[in-house]
């Protein structure tokens, strides 16, 4: 039986990896994947808490988050494709038309 605190530790680690990924990587797709990782870290925390508290709320919330994440993927990929059509290159360093 794995103690619940391990799950929370794993969740915190995944979340941190996601944050670092968004900050360090320059490809929007990889940044987007890192954001998904952060969402899933939150899901893991919710399930672990729900298990500890013996309440189904946490698990139910995870379903909502999954649905939202799916919608986010649809919108996000559409935006990335639109940009790619105009530029033929994919890096956030190219998004420099506007600054200061």
């Amino acid at each position: 039986m794995v103690p619940e605190s391990y799950y929370l530790g794993l969740s915190a680690t995944l979340f941190s990896i996601g944050v670092v990924g968004v900050i360090v990587r320059r490809n929007p797709l990889v940044m987007f994947m890192s954001i998904e990782l952060m969402l899933n870290a939150a899901n893991l925390a919710l399930v672990a808490f729900g298990h500890r508290l013996g309440s189904p709320d946490g698990q139910v919330l995870v379903f909502f988050v999954m649905a939202v994440a799916a919608a986010e993927v649809a919108v996000g990929l559409a935006i990335i494709v639109t940009i790619f059509r105009l530029r033929r290159r994919l890096s956030v360093d190219d998004l420099n038309l506007m600054r200061w």
Partner: protein
């Protein structure tokens, strides 16, 4: 054996404003497929009708205290007040869009449908009584706005704005969600009232504090406080001007609605902690917003930084706390919405040589070419400075007064000094319009009946709020009482 399905009784009346708007959104999508296919102007009218209907529903339900889905959705005076602000903002944005979007290329049914869907998210955000609803409504609002920001598909700036908004917005949402998970873990509930009543709220559970911090990061992105403001200038500049107006007013009002409810209801046990945090956030936000605005030559960008500064002022009211502080924030949001929509509206109706006119220099001598439009923009900018007798003055007066009464004299002093700095960059635009010689081919007014009407309504609002603020201030005070029980 007869298997009977028991349908739970769901009171949909608490969702009525949102249902009207989402229904109008569906109708727009449906009508988009029917003839006439060439022009989409009639869809704007349908969207406008839906928003006006929602506005009427909202006004008619004033004073009710409706709850649905086990207190997940609340329709109290607080939510109704924000519903009015949001529907009003969305309706003006639709009116401004009718000619603007078609002229700039890419008018289609989806545009109006997306405006309505994001408005639905905003309405739900104001009514959220549960962190799950906060998250879902925030995402509904944001996802629609990400697409709207990139609506001019052939323009690089529009795509860039959309991408930046999307990546940073989604990043912020995951912080918010992690905060919700922490609060759930600490208190065992996602309901705002039950979070407030849980023992963790009194013991100062570390999970609870982490949850508060992560929530503030998530909301900080949405309302664009410094240091989470980086997206705002770029998105405001790159997005279609009508969408910028919606992002600057409706989405900000809705995020504030949820933030105030979460802080004042669910996290009231941590009030000393979040007051201290918001104190410094308010100072940094208004100072940096104003200083950065000084250096801008692009009007949309200048207004973006100015809106960051205005968020700083509103945080002052939250720090002041109590009924007078929260009421002052609500009144400020109302005045800010009237004024900002108007300012962006003027920009949406000005063109130079077939392109949008956004540089300050393009407005040189506008008073000579079009005195009415110049006077309109001047009034909106004067209201943003806070010159009596316009809405901005009264709103600032209430806000800073509440801060002084709450014992935050220094904060009020910093805020007043900031307002003085802000006067410089607003007045610069006035100087260009009134005292510079007109350039050849400067910005000119593009006739638009709906847009002109929207400007007139916003102008009446700005003047009315400034001349007789008392009834509106009473409404704002009445709206916060359900929170402070």
């Amino acid at each position: 054996m007869t298997g009977e399905i028991v349908v739970p009784v769901v009171g949909l009346s608490a969702l009525l404003p949102a249902l009207v708007v989402v229904g109008a959104g569906g109708l727009v999508l449906l009508l988009d497929l029917l003839p006439p296919r060439a022009s989409k102007a009639h869809l704007g009218t349908v969207a406008l009708a839906g928003l006006v209907a929602a506005l009427l529903v909202t006004v008619s339900r004033w004073g009710t205290d409706d709850r649905a889905f086990r207190d997940m959705v609340l329709l109290d005076n607080y939510a109704l007040f924000f519903d009015v602000v949001i529907c009003y903002a969305a309706a003006l944005v639709v009116m401004l869009s009718m000619d603007y979007v078609g002229r700039e290329g890419g008018e289609s049914g989806e545009y109006y449908a997306l405006v309505l869907f994001s408005t639905t998210g905003m309405l739900l955000l104001a009514s959220a009584g549960d962190l799950i609803v906060v998250f879902l409504a925030l995402e509904l609002m944001s996802l629609s706005l990400y697409v709207l920001a990139g609506f001019f598909k052939t323009r690089l700036v529009s795509g860039e704005a959309s991408m930046k908004y999307f990546l940073l917005g989604a990043f912020a949402s995951s912080f918010l969600l992690y905060g919700i998970a922490m609060l759930y873990g600490a208190t065992g509930s996602t309901n705002l009232d039950r979070i407030a009543g849980s023992p963790a709220a009194r013991d100062g559970d570390p999970l609870y504090l982490v949850g508060l911090a992560l929530l503030l990061v998530g909301f900080g992105f949405k309302i664009s406080t410094v240091p989470f403001h980086m997206w705002a200038p770029d998105v405001y500049e790159g997005a279609p001007t009508s969408v910028t107006a919606l992002i600057a007013t409706g989405s900000k009002a809705a995020a504030f609605a949820a933030l105030i409810r979460v802080l004042v209801v669910a996290l009231r046990g941590l009030q000393p902690d979040w007051t201290a945090l918001l104190w410094s956030l308010a100072v940094v936000t208004m100072t940096l917003g104003n200083l950065a605005a000084l250096a801008q030559s692009n009007l949309k960008r200048m207004l973006a930084y100015s809106s960051i500064a205005h968020v700083g002022y509103m945080l002052v009211g939250l720090v002041a706390g109590g009924a007078s502080g929260a009421g002052a924030v609500l009144f400020y949001l109302l005045a800010y919405t009237f004024t900002t929509i108007g300012a962006f509206g003027v920009l949406a109706l000005c063109q130079r040589a077939g392109e949008e006119a956004v540089e300050v220099s393009e407005y040189a001598g506008l008073a000579r070419r079009n005195p009415v439009l110049a006077a309109t923009l001047a009034l909106f900018l004067l209201s943003l400075i806070g010159i009596p007798p316009l809405a901005g003055f009264v709103a600032k007066f209430y806000l800073f007064g509440a801060a002084v009464r709450g014992g935050h004299v220094w904060l009020a002093v910093i805020a007043v000094l900031n307002s003085a700095v802000a006067a410089y960059y607003y007045l610069r635009v006035l100087v260009y319009m009134y005292m510079r010689e007109p350039e050849a081919g400067g910005a000119g007014y593009v006739p638009s009946f709906a847009g002109g009407l929207a400007l007139a309504i916003a102008l009446i609002g700005v003047v009315a709020l400034g001349v007789m603020p008392a009834p509106f201030a009473d409404l704002a005070q009445g709206a916060v009482t359900p929170l402070l029980r």
